[in-house]
Amino acid sequence: MSTNPKTDLPMKLKMNGGILNAGGDVFRINRRDFLTTTGLAAGGLAIGVTLPLGAQANATAFEPNAFVHIAPNGDTTLHCGRCEMGQGISTALPQAVADELEADWNRVTVLQGDGDAKYGPQATGGSNSINQMFEPMRKAGAAAKEMLMAAAAQTWGVPIGDVHAELHHVYHADGRSLSYGELAATAAALPVPKDPTLKTPDQFRYIGKSLSRHDQGDIVIGRRTYGSDAKVAGIKYAAITHVPVYGGRVKSFDATEALKMKGVVKVVKIDRFANPYGSLGGVAVVADNTWTAQQALKKISIEWKKGEHGDYDTEAYKAELVKQVEAPAEQVFEKGNLPGAFEAAQQRLSGTYVGGHLSHSPMEPMASLVSVRDDSCEVWASTQDPNGIQKTLGAFLEREPNDITVHVMASGGAFGRKFKCDYVQEAAALSQAVGAPVQLTWSREEDTRAGYYHSCSAQHIEASLDEQGNVTGWLHRAAFPSIGTTFNPAQERPSEGDLDAVSGHPYGIANMRVESGLSKGHTRIGWYRSVYAIFYGFAINVFSDELAHAAGVDTLTFLRRIYDNNNDPELAEQARLSRGVLNLAAEKAGWGKTLPDNQGLGIAVHHCFESYVAMVVHAEVNGDDIKVHRVDCAIDCGLVLNPDIATAQMEGAVIMGLGLSLNTEITFREGAVVNSNFHDYPVLRIQDAPAEINVYFTNTEATPTGLGEPGVPTLPPALINAIFAASGKRYRSLPIKPITV
C-alpha cells in the first residue's frame, strides 16, 4: 500500500487523528452511502458530485447539478453542502465552483444546502471538507461552464472549440458574446458532461485568492441566523437541565411551582435516549419565551439517581492513568528491537505527560428548533452533521431518516461538539410533547456540564540516545478514555487505531513499542478540535525538547536530525514535509536569536489530518506571569484555497491552543462536572492574545488538505518549550495554571 498521505485514501483514513478508528462509523458510512448513491468509484480523492440531476427541457433556469443554479437573469446561486461553523467552508467551496464556472463572484449568492444526499457527504469534521470536496466542487463548476459553452456554440452554429467562457459570459473568437443568463435555458436542455476539463493552476481566477467570506456582511449587521435564531409561526421556547451524571436518571421531580408561572406551557421529563448522539436525559420546561422556561426550571425540585459513574473524580482518575502508563501496559505496536536499543543506549530519558478534559464551549450553546408533526419533522439546527440528525431523529421518532427535513443553520462555533445532536433530539421530544415547534437553547451551564468532552490523558515516553545524541529507541504508553467508549462503553483502553498517530509518527524511530493503558470511560467523550493530536503533539514535542537538552543539542537541530534519520520509505514524505514546515517556522521566527532575560523561544511540529504544522512561540515568564509575545506558524496543507481564511484558521487555533495550555479544564467530582460558565471555564480573552501571530504557507500544488484542526496541537508544546527556555521551568501537565473550582 502506498503511504503517500496526500493521495492514498486508506492511509488518509488511518491518519485522521483517530477519528475513523475511534468514532465508529460516522465518516465511513456517509462516504459509502454517498458512493453508492452516486455510483462513483472510490479512487483517491475522486468523490463525485451528483451529476446529472436530469436536465429539464422546459426549464428556464439552469441547474446542472446540486450545487449550481443560474437564473435567466444570470443571478447565480451556489449551494454549499458542508456545514459552516466559522471555518469559512461556505465561502471556500463555492469559490472553487465559481472559479471553474468562470462565474462573476459579484453575481454569486451562496446558500447553505439542507441535509440531502445530493450534496455528497455533509458531515463536517476531521478537517476533510477541502480535501474531499475540492475536486468535486471544481467539477460541478466546470461541467456547468462546458454546458454554457455548448449552448452558445449551438446558438451560433459554431464548433465549441471556437468559444470560451469568461466572467459570466461566453465569447466567440470573433467577439460575439452571450451572457450566462441568456444561455441558461438552452444549457439546461443539454447533456451534463461526465468528465469536464478542469483548469490548470495558472488559469485560476478565485482559487488561491483571499475572497472575503460571503456571510460577513450579514454578520456585522446582525442578520446572519444561527440555530438559536430560527423562528417559525407558533414557536415555543424551552430550557433543560440534564442528569448530572452520565448514565444516571431522573428519580422524581416536583414541578408544582413551575407550572404556576404565567407562560409555562408544560414540564417534560426527557428520558435518556441510549444512542451515542442521544439525550443524557433530564427535565425541560416549554414556555412562551426562553426566560420564562429558564426561570420555571429553577423552581422544579429534582431528585437524581446517579448510576454507575456516580464516583467519577477526574483528579483520582488522572492519577490512575499516570499509574497505568508508568507500568507495562498492553502492547499494540512494535518494530525493531527496543530492548536492544535501550540496552545499548548512551543515555535513557523518560517523561510523563498529563492533560485534562476539555469542553468545546462554542459561543452559541447547543440550540435547535424542531417541529414534529404526524406527517413531517422539520429541523433548523446549528449542526456539523445533518445526516446524523436524520438518522438519530429517525431512530427516535421511528421514521425514515429521509423523512426528517434538516435545515442547516450557521453554527455559532462548534469545534466538534455539534457533530452530536442530543440537543436536537431533545427539541424533537419537546415538540412532540407539546404539539408545537420548539426552540431549545441550552444554558451555558448545561453546555458546560452536558458535553462530549475531550479525553483526559496520560502518556509516558521512554527513549534511548546514542553517543551522538541520536534517538535509537522509543517506548510510548498512552491511557485515555477513547472516543470509542461513547459508542461502545465496553471499550477499556485506547485501541490500536487510537494509537496510530504514535505508531506511524513521522519520526519513524527504528526501535519502537507502543502500549495502551487501561482507561475506561465515565463520561461522554467526543471529538474536540484536533482530537487526540492535542495530547500526542504535546507529549511528543515536549519530550523531544527534553531529549534535545539531555543530548546537549539545539532543539531545531535535534528535530532535523530525527527526521533525517528516518529511513522508513513509507514515512519518507511525512518526514520531508514535517521537516519543511519545521525549517520554515524556524527561519521566519529567527530561531536562535538572542532574547532578553526571562524570554525564550519554543518550537514544535506535528502532522495530523493530512496537514503539517510547525510553530515557534516567543514567551516571557516573570514568576507566575506568562506572556506570549509572538507565534510564527508554518503550514503545509498543499494548495491554499483562500489564504486569508486559512490564516484566520491558524490564528484561531493559536488562541484555542493557548487557552487550553494555560487555563481550561473540565473537572468531575462525584460523577458530575463542577465547572459551569466562563468564570470557572476561562477560555482565552483578548488581553492574553499574542501581539503577533504570523502565518506562513508552503502553498504547493498538492491536493489541498484541511486546516480547521491541524493548528491546535503545536501551540501547547511550543509554549511549554518556550517557557522552559525562558525560565528553566518544565511543565508536563496541561493546563499549567488550572482554575480551582
Binding site: V220, Y226, T290, P362, E364, V654, H679, L684, I686
Partner: protein
C-alpha cells in the same frame, strides 16, 4: 416612566415580566436576533447593546431598566452597515463563526464613543469582557484601532 422602550428608533410597548432580561425581550418577543445569548451572567459580552449610548450586557439587564430609554442593537447601529466599526470589521475579515461579533462591535462602539484615540492596550482592556471562541482577537484589535482612526479622520 412608561413601560415602553425605544429600540433602534422605534417605540415598543413592553408587556412582559419587568424582570425579564432585555436580551430575551429582544430575541424572543421582538425577534431581533442579532443580539446573542452566550452565558447569561455578563461574562462573555455576546449580548451587548447600548442603553442611552452606554454599552450594557442585555442578558443581565432587566427590561425595566430600559423603560423610557433608547436601546440600540446591532441591527440599529447604522442604517446600512456603514458604521466605521462595521466597515473596519469587513476590511479586516474579522468574523469566523460570527456569533460573538455583534457583541464585540457594540462593545467597541460604546468604547470608542468614550475614547476616540485608544492605544492597543486600551482596546484590550475595553474588549476583555467579550469572548471570541474562534480566536479573532488579533483582528478585533486591529479593526477597533482602524475604526478609531477612520472616525477621527471623518
Amino acid at each position: 416612566m412608561s413601560n415602553s422602550i425605544t429600540i433602534n428608533g422605534q417605540p415598543h410597548g413592553v408587556d412582559v415580566d419587568a424582570g425579564m432580561p432585555l436580551l430575551w425581550f429582544l430575541r424572543d418577543t421582538l425577534e431581533l436576533t442579532g443580539t446573542k445569548y452566550g452565558c447569561g451572567m455578563a461574562l462573555c459580552g455576546a449580548c451587548t447593546v447600548h442603553v442611552d449610548g452606554q454599552a450594557v450586557r442585555s442578558c443581565s439587564t432587566p427590561v425595566s431598566v430600559a423603560f423610557g430609554k433608547n436601546v440600540t442593537t446591532i441591527e440599529g447601529l447604522s442604517q446600512d452597515g456603514s458604521h466605521p466599526l462595521q466597515i473596519a470589521w469587513l476590511n479586516n475579515n474579522v468574523p469566523q463563526c460570527g456569533y460573538c461579533q455583534a457583541g464585540q462591535i457594540m462593545s467597541a462602539a460604546g468604547f470608542l464613543a468614550q475614547n476616540s484615540n485608544p492605544t492597543s492596550e486600551e482596546v484590550d482592556q475595553a474588549m476583555q469582557g467579550n469572548i471570541c471562541r474562534c480566536g479573532t482577537y488579533k483582528r478585533i484589535r486591529r479593526a477597533v484601532l482602524e475604526a478609531a482612526h477612520a472616525m477621527q479622520e471623518a
